[in-house]
Symmetry: C2
């Protein structure tokens, strides 16, 4: 079976590493000459709207999946004429736009921060009056890793801010006094079977995920599974989805979904019986799902900008390096380490060791 | 770091799957157009004696390693002029030839079956008279998976047998009434640090490995480590080596070494903290070695000729498929499954499930 992946970054790379042992081959469509998934499959170097190359991809593969949600709707619609695409155009349409996403949460009875659609500075001023400050203004589309958003704390922060974010459609979200950020990675098969990984506690810095710790039995696991299950069913979703929540007052408020394998699920490569990457491929290929049970206690630390010296990373017991083969760039995710330990106490000590390496 | 691999079969494929997350790239030299490692790196399609392509490989990579031991000595010597090769030419020279290998065992005080160098039918007749029957006549070089050998049970079996095996240098080995076949996979770093995986119990059929079960604490582990350690030190070996033994009367007799990652170590991908493939690459690249400790209880079953239906293999809990992407061929190793279970009782039940699929 040959899988087409729109995007050829580290998620595509890890999909290929997981799918090759299943007998799958891969083709990546990515305009970047140095797409880091390219060494593991065929690289169609073209823009995401290039219909000649999209057609070529569709002709070569059995199905198409996506490494990121900001795929142009036209791309998905075009591909869908010729080849199955997972997740569906509808799932991508919703996940791509913060307004559609939040509205779906509300419709499904999933708590969210207060939000308002912002199409002008006047909309913004009215919404701030209604929702209050602090609040966060986010572009409805194309935001990631803290890009395309601004925190509004004081009335002065609101002045001209709509133009500052490019005068594009935005969403204003009321600030949530959260006590933690958690995510649930789930996988849903073509036949509707759904499995959930353990809730992950995430730590961000400057909008970029730094640390994910897979939880032991978490009191909010069942609630999170309920919420995520509603979304998966509503979208008749196929594949892996990650759902990020704020922990607030012992409950959960929905932040956002990612209709793909997700950074907060990278620990599953070593830390679970069947990784999010293999399970995504099993789902889209119509294979039985694999176990989402944990193996030991795990955490994932991102390497941002550069990977520490390889010989130092691999010298740490219980540490598994995932180097993406990307060039140094400030703020770029270039690798991660998974720690898989016998117990939480060891895990905490090992996290400190890797953090010391990152701090350099 | 770019690694050159002589050979592009499943061992090269699994080396690349293990090395890519370490940030390594791969080039494979293999004359086969459909070399199954090719999708994971650069494929130099050329004969192993093709000096133009060997030189190209040497110029492109940081070091060269080997997927099989039957590499022509001239190839290794040629490459060694330009680039580090691991394991060394001397290790390959010994491992390639059953006479050199057995003689080294004897010199190191490692028990072996009785053996004799056979250069003619007269040598064979004399050796049979001395060693007795049953015995096994094996070509000194180029044998694998039961090829290039013949079991001699009755005097009639001896007649003209030297010519039958091609009138090439052979070794006659006395038959060993073994109670089991075990192998020890070891890894030795450039600085001499050595680590051993748990002893593996192997079951062969028609000369081809079918089942490997990683043992719980094995009474012969320490003895096997002693023997293998002697060989590794003697050869100043760098990389992974597998050593196959016969269990005889509660002790061990040396069968053969493989100067490379080995089929009986495939279980380590899921079943140990750091797989034989990653540890081989760590060793040759001068990185610290990884832990050889087990994760759960594991076994490996080979798929010979064809892989059972993928959806059935992955439907078995605790089962991890490794499909080599090779075409069907009688007697060809085309994939394997690793079972990693909580306990030995579960493992035995799961082995039966996979065996039923293979038989099915």
């Amino acid at each position: 079976m040959k899988i087409g992946v729109i995007g050829g970054g580290q998620l595509g790379r890890m999909l290929a590493l997981a799918g090759t042992p299943l007998g799958m081959n891969f083709a990546f469509l990515d305009p970047a000459p140095d797409a880091c998934a390219a060494p593991l499959g065929e690289h169609l170097r073209a823009d995401y709207g290039d219909q000649d190359h999209l057609r070529q991809l569709a002709d070569e593969v059995d199905l198409v999946t996506f490494e990121f949600e900001s795929v142009p709707a036209e791309t998905v619609a075009f591909l869908s004429q010729f080849v199955p695409v997972y997740p569906s155009a509808e799932a991508l349409r919703i996940a791509r736009d913060r307004l559609f996403e939040k509205s779906m949460f509300r419709d499904l009875g999933i708590p969210t921060p207060a939000f308002a659609d912002i199409l002008s500075q006047a909309d913004l001023d009215a919404a701030v009056a209604s929702i209050g400050l602090p609040a966060v203004l986010k572009t409805r589309t194309l935001g990631y890793d803290g890009k395309g958003q601004k925190v509004l704390r004081k009335p002065e922060d609101v002045v001209d801010t709509f133009a500052e974010l490019g005068s594009v459609p935005c969403l204003l979200e009321g600030f949530v006094p959260f006590t933690g950020e958690v995510s649930l990675v789930a996988v849903r098969a073509r036949d509707g079977e759904t499995r959930f990984y353990p809730l992950v506690h995430n730590t961000h810095d400057s909008g970029i995920l730094r640390l994910s710790v897979a939880s032991e039995a978490h009191p909010l696991q069942a609630l999170a599974e309920d919420y995520v299950g509603r979304v998966l069913q509503k979208l008749d979703y196929v594949g892996v989805m990650a759902f990020e929540f704020f922990e607030v007052d012992g409950g959960l408020k929905a932040n956002e979904i990612a209709p793909r394998v997700h950074n907060s699920g990278h620990w599953t490569i070593e830390g679970s019986e069947c990784s999010q990457f293999e399970n995504h491929l099993r789902a889209v290929a119509g294979l039985p799902l694999g176990s989402t049970a944990k193996v030991g206690e795990s955490a994932m630390l991102n390497f941002i900008g550069e990977v520490p010296a390889v010989e130092k990373v691999v010298a740490i017991d219980d540490c598994h390096l995932h180097h993406y083969g990307k060039a140094f760039k400030v703020g770029r995710k270039v690798g991660h380490a998974t720690l898989r330990c016998q117990d939480m106490a060891t895990l905490k000590a090992k996290i400190a060791e890797v953090e010391a390496l990152i701090a350099g």
